[in-house]
Symmetry: C2
DNA sequence: ACGGGTCACTTGCATTACGCAATCTATTTT
DNA sequence: AAAATAGATTGCGTAATGCAAGTGACCCGT
């Protein structure tokens, strides 16, 4: 059940960060406040690419940066990520404002549409603002 | 994002097994074909109970067996489990018949209702028959 | 009521994964 | 050219995992 890929503490978190927080680069993932180690991050990014969930390319304008993006397979995880987020919001203390959670819970399809739209448009604007999204 | 609880290879698999395959006992989990080790299984069951996702009680009729059940918090994971299952069915080889997957994808709410109904009625009949559910 | 089997774990131990800090190479900035 | 930055990689100690064997409680047929 996909747990060969997501059966660890970090993979889904990375997917979520690129999906709803608009993260693109190694540094952004590293400094996301979750505390992943750099070697583990490198290994997970490699694995997510191998699994066809992320793609990577050098950023134009800065040849050092590598720009990670979701594939179709990756963005198709949006419903799962959303449901996990909603469950977490219900049962765990979260920094996300209740109003935002409420809106996402009642407009799931609209929220997903928005995620897909931003993905298709390569729009890195966060779906969830900076308040810690889903801890 | 709940990954302190599910950030491992086995926890969600256990939840799925009790949720849709009707598993209740240690032996059933152990022999589910996934290959979890008994010490790890014991530890995960303990953790899921501590997290308030499972409860345990001795089976009436056999004082050796311990009957694990989902809590409300546990059954509320159904949407997330369903979405992960659908994603897996789409992108991984699965033993589940395409017709079944199709039906679940198009009748999500009905499928979830059925899971909740069986949970409320304490009905261990598998939602997914024996074909390997969601590998 | 005794012996064998079942059930839910535990224990011991080798292997693997992880967290952390330091280091490396390529590229960009000053 | 020198310093800084980005994306990793390496070394190492600790924690988690897999595997086989063992433990104690309980059931069942004789």
């Amino acid at each position: 059940m996909a747990l060969e890929i997501f059966g660890d503490r970090w993979s889904l978190l990375i997917v979520r960060d690129v999906m709803v927080r608009g993260y693109r680069t190694f540094q952004e993932f590293l400094q996301s406040g979750e505390g992943i180690a750099s070697n583990v991050l490198a290994e997970r990014l490699k694995r997510l690419r191998a699994a066809g969930i992320l793609t990577a390319q050098r950023a134009d304008g800065d040849g050092r940066k590598i720009c990670y993006q979701l594939t179709q397979k990756g963005v198709d995880l949006a419903p799962a990520v959303l449901e996990i987020f909603l469950w977490s919001a219900k049962y765990e203390p979260t920094a996300a404002p209740p109003a935002v959670v409420e809106r996402m819970a009642h407009n799931r399809e609209q929220t997903l549409q928005e995620v897909r739209r931003r993905w298709a448009a390569n729009d890195p604007t966060p779906v969830l603002p900076r308040f810690g999204a889903a801890r």
